[in-house]
């Protein structure tokens, strides 16, 4: 009987002091790829519309998460040369077109060699000459989507020409944008195991 009593006391002590809600930070990637099919002689320009729904579908963010920050991690490009192509190099410019804030270039006159086997995609390679204005605009759009304060689509435009100019370009070009979302979530933990911050009841940034 004494043993059972002691056991109950121990368990109640654990219950009363054990579980508490602590705030932890998670990092999640959102990857978006736009596909541009080009069959053109001379300059080309193709736009792809990206909606809030597209972005959120690619982000598995918990409903009770509090968004802390959004950053653009990388912009990458790949090509697949198709039958009929005569160009050996593509010079491309990408632009974000936001109805609210206008156009911003993400990168400009970026050379991409059109190599590889016909019909086989080359691996993605990072675009190394990115422009601050376009990256900031992309970041603002995605941040607005995940924070629920921007509901408008944006357009990602790819334009360019071949080098030398005006050769026949037949290719599939993909633009891949990786954004990082940093968010906080409250978890039940054993209080003595972690130095995590106690959860506050801030709800203004809650999804």
């Amino acid at each position: 009987m004494k043993t059972r009593f002691l056991f109950i006391i121990l368990m109640l002590a654990i219950v009363s002091t054990g579980c508490e809600k602590r705030s932890f930070t998670f990092v999640l990637d959102i990857k978006q790829t736009q596909i541009y099919n080009i069959d053109q002689i001379g300059p080309f320009e193709i736009g792809r519309v990206v909606s809030r729904e597209d972005v959120l579908a690619a982000a598995d963010i918990p409903k009770d998460a509090r968004i802390k920050d959004v950053k653009i991690q990388s912009v990458a490009i790949n090509t697949k040369v198709l039958e009929g192509n005569q160009a050996s190099k593509l010079v491309a410019t990408a632009t974000i077109n936001d109805l609210l804030t206008g156009k911003e270039r993400v990168f400009e006159d970026y050379s991409v060699p059109l190599t590889g086997l016909l019909g086989i995609s080359n691996p993605f390679s990072p675009v190394s000459l990115l422009l601050d204005g376009g990256i900031d605009a992309l970041k603002d759009k995605i941040q607005g989507y995940v924070k629920n304060d921007d509901f408008y689509d944006y357009e990602l435009i790819l334009e360019g020409n071949t080098e030398p100019a005006n050769q026949r370009l037949v290719a599939e070009v993909k633009l891949k944008i990786v954004a990082t979302v940093k968010y906080e979530e409250c978890l039940d933990v054993l209080g003595f195991t972690s130095d995590g911050e106690p959860c506050s009841d801030v709800t203004d940034e809650t999804m």
Binding site: F7, C19, V27, Q73, S74, A76, L130, K182, G196
Partner: protein, 296 residues
């Protein structure tokens, strides 16, 4: 009803060796890491978890030659997380340009994370840790003896955690044999023991641990001082399916613990059927053990 939920949640948490780091969706923690970074991020978890599994098996080396004795215990093992387990050398992944190497938090490390800047306003955020000071687990344990100066110890849990996780199972056994029974009037009880455990959570977590130890104890009245030297090995394999809008791939990490030799020092109180014991395990991964139980 609330109290019932709290009690049952806590009992389950303790009784089935679930701790919060494993109780959440692992893919959520490491979804950003799909290669060598993931191993570095999780390795301290493998070390701590393996060391925990190999702790708390004994609190005396006294094994009678023959006669029935049964101990039922709840043993908690808490790996103490050192500063050297809170950071690792990580490299940016996934087309980030230019590639950079930094000190980033492990799963036990800083909750602030680390970040580096790339070209054109891009940034790479490394996943933060959980700022943990200890990793506790608990297990129910049954020891039955004695026959020819030997006893056996069993740990066993089997629970269905739902479709996201599958079944959680802990199966452990150990066998001990008294050495001091062969040495008349020897002032110290001495025994050797061998233990094996398997811990699984669905197809996600698969851990195994082996422990061989030499144990000694002295009992005076209701007090026992005990200790031992042991050699151990353990592995923790974690696998999950990583999915995004484009791909679905299985990512797996095989984490072999760095622990190999440990020394144990402990103290036990045997007040009638009630047993309380605590010990400290000194190894590359330090573990504090607390146990409570009844014995006949």
């Amino acid at each position: 009803m609330k109290l019932y939920r709290k009690v049952s949640t806590t009992l389950v948490m303790f009784a089935v060796t679930v701790n919060f780091a494993l109780a959440q969706d692992i893919s959520e923690y490491v979804s950003k890491y799909t290669s060598e970074n993931g191993k570095g991020y999780l390795q301290p978890l493998g070390d701590a978890f393996g060391a925990n599994l190999n702790s708390g098996f004994y609190h005396s080396a006294n094994i009678p030659m023959v006669g029935l004795h049964v101990d039922i215990e709840l043993v908690t093992m808490s790996a103490l997380i050192g500063d050297d387990q809170k950071a690792f050398t990580a490299t940016t992944e996934d087309l980030f340009s230019p590639a950079q190497t930094v000190e980033a938090p492990t799963i036990f490390g800083s909750s602030e994370g680390a970040s580096v800047d790339g070209t054109g306003g891009t940034s790479y955020d490394f996943p933060p840790g959980f700022n943990m000071t200890m990793l506790p687990i608990a297990a129910p344990q049954l020891t039955v003896g004695s026959l020819f100066g030997s006893d056996i110890t069993i740990r066993w849990v089997d629970l269905d955690l739902g479709e996201n996780w599958g079944r959680l199972s802990l199966t452990g056994w150990g066998i001990r044999h008294s050495i001091s029974q062969y040495i008349p009037l020897f002032p110290v009880d001495v025994a050797v023991g061998f233990y094996r455990q398997s811990f699984k959570v669905g197809d996600i977590v698969d851990a195994n641990a082996t422990f061989l130890s030499a144990q000694a104890s002295i009992t005076r009245g209701i007090f026992t001082i005990y200790g031992g030297l042991g050699t151990e090995s353990s592995n923790l394999d974690i696998a999950y399916t990583f999915e995004d809008a484009e791909i679905s791939q299985t990512v797996s990490f095989e984490l072999k613990a760095e622990n190999s030799v440990r020394m144990t020092v402990g103290f036990a109180l045997n007040a009638g059927p009630l047993m309380l014991h605590t010990d400290f395990n000194i190894a590359s991964q330090k573990v504090l053990v607390l146990g409570i139980g009844v014995g006949i």
